[in-house]
Subunit: 578 residues, 2 copies
């Protein structure tokens, strides 16, 4: 009797694309109806995409969102839907529409608005009231619905709804990726399910949106906290499962803690019960095929996040092809490989821009990589242009020794050439700097930092090497040539230059940068943890001094718990020494 | 008997400069003590500077702030101080320390945390409780203290404190400037003072911090809402006034509304009365000299905001000299003039970078301006470099017509030259683009957008002309030559180019941009307001398409109610058509 067929639409929405998102939603409704799904869920703000940021201040944006919600409602004959949208009353709410058989039954308003890290929801939304946590009955099964952050709180709407009679908790989310997040989220959801003796249906968004990647990885967990269905990582998916509610009933019946707390919750006024559908679910449905989705290892999920983030940025912004400088170094090689995986080899163009300081190996390594990837490589030497700059600036620079100026001029010539090709052919420039460089400022503003998207800006240098090796292991051969992975890093902007002339070796530097940037440790704490004092002081100073560069950096994929960007908002004008 | 000498320290704090800010505070305490001030106030977060942004996540930052507060407490012998700092209990608070005679008497926690526009205070602080609005008694006078946003709410701490017996309301602020804000603030404060029959002491911060300028303009208003003392605009100031409290007593005594509401407030639990000093104020103090500060007209305050914002960005970031490209156009001429007013003529270097497309007038106009300003002008023709790019790219561009690519190459050559001079000599590059260009993307990323600070990025083109004329009227002659103000705008990047080839004339364009960008009007609404349909659609499309450029723009001074930057946070990936 108490069996419910649930569908989770792990869809890739695009911010502001009401027509496109709604077309997708209607198409999934048709698929789900054919599969006799009783309740079909969609991610948080599926109608308008997430995060819409200050578009939410535009009244027309809110109106369009309501207009397209109505199209979804009209298409809901014979099915129950849970769809994320922006509700507009005396203020706006991050909301879930509960739609049944052509009617909007109710709207749930998100109670816990995240306002930390990459989130700014207090800027936009009014919070829902915890006195408004209705429970819906669908085919005899109690359903509690809440949104993303709501389920991260132990004493939040999830328990109110469960204690008020919801056997199934539906959480629609737009939970962004960073490495390890999927595991943490799964542990939290398992705890929530078993603590509340509830089936948890967690429907996450998938796709890239500027700096964020939503990893999908939607889950259904039974009342013991065991995963019974799992959506793909980094891909759209429609996950369908038959929920058995009998064991929820049985467990709750023998749980004295449960019954007392349920009472308490009812006294709190939570859990208004709203009937959605009285008809029992048909028992004649064909069984669903077994499905198995395996979660990826850490490097695998990071790599796939970079691929999806790049693909979605490029395509959702209307570009087809990309180009990037190919120096023969690890960073640009990794970016070219990610871009090729994201967009296909015909849509990636590498540009080799040798100078008087480029080693022979740099050029031949870039050639071998391009051959392996099957991408086009163009060679554009910068010597004539560089010489013209030196001639032009000679009267100004008289009596001055060559210094970092001449290095930056070369990097900016390359930036200008890449942008010129971009302007002429309509290709998007991918910047190739890594997080260690972004942190220390060991990069040239308007030079190697130039571009529309900075693919690996959140990847520490040492992780870049690991990702290259990971990708080679998947390929089963040296897709990224070992000469590239093995060589000592050098910007090749002056004779015999090595990165270690200026910076400590990356394996020593990266843990210091992580402690200082991601963990807010002080210089003193990092030294006390056993790192070399001079190195720590120099690293912290470099980070502090480079804020102005980061402020002008293109966006890139967030893969760490704290990325540069909206995640970390530091003043440029700042005399504090951390 | 009831007379209180109050000092307001309208100081220019620097974010993170604990030592420097504290040195300033101690120095002002000495001055105030010599002037027999009873109560001396400082701006919001005076100890650490405002806004500290994510520095607040660093435990060491919070500790340093407390350590330096202690130095201020130690220096408070014989005086009462109100000082902004970060209080750390189970969470952190935006707080005011009430310090008296060597002791911390109490700390008030800001209740209303702004989380809109440029503000993100919910990200950092816990809000104070309205049950904790103590009233302090200093020399028999009741004082209520609150912080910035708190006083903008009619039913906020101001009335709680007034009804609980405060005759004087001290509000310490860091209220950023935009044009017209000063007047709005003054009207609000006058209403608050007369509504609550209280003297209002409004102590604002002054100075530039990245994109924000705090305009000072501190005020003391009597219980009728009349201004009795006014701090300077855009300058540090120590404002001292003797407050007569007798008329507050008299007015309240005959105000039946007052007495009832006072009772209500006391029932609400607001207004804990804390004794700070029992000693009556000496009546032998010498009278204060009369002071008169005149508020500036709109163009004057905008101009001064640009000067202060530029000066503070340059100096607080450790630079002495600046340079900028001088094209002979209105924008770069205005920026050079502002920079000269901000930093002095010896610290400004103009660079003329003529190309094959530059008109003779451009070069001579830049020369005349430089002569008028007394700044150095260097001429660096870009022809040889431009030709080298064309030669180098010829094989790539074969069969393609010249287009915007070749224009951008020239702009980026100029960007590279300016940055090279910056690198070689340690001068900061000022970018010269205006808000109309930033809005429409009529500017070259890494070209004319290159620089450390973008002085007029929030100034619409049409206002730029007005500012130039305003500055000339102050000078009493054509400091900015009329040839510059009078010529038709042109980027001079191809033969016979006029800006109107590509954009509608600015007087038609600017009101559309303001409606679309600052007022969130839809295209349909702007057309309905009487603007030409094709122009509106084109303008909106240009704004939408240029988000990626703005994301990589340097910071600049906010002067409008909504500036590009932290004030307006739009996704780049966005298919919404406004």
């Amino acid at each position: 009797m108490h069996r419910l067929r649930v569908g989770m639409a792990q869809m890739n929405a695009t911010v502001g694309d009401f027509a496109g998102n709604t077309r997708k939603i209607l198409d999934i409704i048709s698929q789900a109806r054919a599969l006799e799904v009783d309740m079909l869920t969609f991610p948080e703000l599926a109608i308008c995409g997430y995060p819409p940021e200050d578009l939410l201040f535009k009244p027309k944006f809110i109106e369009e969102n309501l207009r397209f919600l109505n199209k979804v409602i009209e298409a809901s004959a014979g099915i129950t839907l849970v769809v994320g949208f922006v509700d507009a009353k005396e203020d706006i709410y991050n909301a879930a529409a509960i739609v049944h058989d052509g009617k909007l039954v109710s709207a749930y308003h998100k109670i816990y608005l995240p306002n930390y890290g990459v989130f700014d929801e207090d800027r936009y939304f009014r919070a829902g009231a915890s006195s408004e946590c209705p429970v819906y009955t669908i085919a005899g099964v109690g359903i509690g619905i809440n949104i993303c952050e709501d389920i991260w709180y132990e004493a939040g709407p999830t328990s109110i709804q469960a204690y008020a009679g919801a056997e199934v908790i539906v959480n629609i989310s737009a939970s962004p990726f960073h490495y390890g997040k999927g595991n943490a989220r799964e542990r939290m959801l398992a705890t929530r399910a078993s603590d509340n003796v509830s089936v948890v249906v967690f429907n996450n968004l998938v796709g890239g949106q500027d700096e964020l990647v939503f990893d999908g990885n939607s889950l259904i967990l039974d009342e013991k906290g065991q995963v019974i269905a799992r959506g793909k990582q980094f891909e759209e998916d429609l996950i369908i499962a038959d929920l058995e509610i009998e064991s929820v009933f049985r467990t709750r019946l023998h749980d004295p803690r449960w019954r007392k707390e349920k009472l308490l919750a009812e006294q709190r006024g939570g859990g208004i019960r709203v009937m959605v559908s009285e008809a029992p679910v048909s028992l004649t449905k064909p069984p669903l095929p077994a499905r198995q989705v395996i979660t990826k290892p850490l490097l695998g999920e990071v790599y796939d996040a970079l691929v999806l983030g790049t693909r979605d940025y490029v395509r959702k912004n209307g570009f087809k092809k990309v180009l990037m400088g190919l120096s023969g170094g690890i960073d640009s090689s990794l970016v070219a490989t990610i871009a090729t995986d994201a967009l296909g080899k015909d849509n990636v163009v590498g540009i080799s821009m040798p100078s008087r300081y480029s080693s022979e190996g740099s050029v031949t390594d870039a050639e071998l990589l391009s051959k392996n990837l099957g991408i086009k490589l163009k060679t554009i030497p910068i010597e004539e242009i560089f010489q013209a700059y030196l001639n032009t600036l000679m009267p100004q620079f008289e009596g001055k020794e060559p210094d970092v100026t001449e290095e930056n001029i070369q990097a900016r010539i390359r930036g200008n050439i890449l942008m010129a090709l971009s302007n002429k052919f309509g290709w998007l420039v991918l910047a190739t700097g890594n997080k260690s460089e972004m942190a220390t400022g060991f990069t040239t503003l308007y030079g190697d930092m130039a571009g529309g998207f900075s693919v690996i800006k959140d990847v520490p240098k040492t992780m870049g090497y690991e990702l290259a090796k990971y990708r080679n292991s998947v390929a089963g051969y040296e897709l990224i040539p070992s000469a590239i992975i093995g060589k000592a890093p050098s910007p090749e902007l002056k004779p015999e230059q090595k990165t270690t002339d200026t910076l400590p070796p990356y394996p020593r530097l990266d843990p210091i940068l992580m402690a200082y940037v991601e963990e807010d440790k002080s210089v003193e704490q990092i030294i006390a943890a056993g790192h070399d004092e001079a190195t720590v002081r120099r690293a912290a100073q470099l980070v502090d001094r480079s804020e102005y560069k980061r402020r002008q950096a293109p966006p890139g994929v967030k893969i760490t718990p704290r990325a540069f960007g909206r995640d970390r908002r530091l003043p440029i004008t700042n005399r504090f020494k951390g």
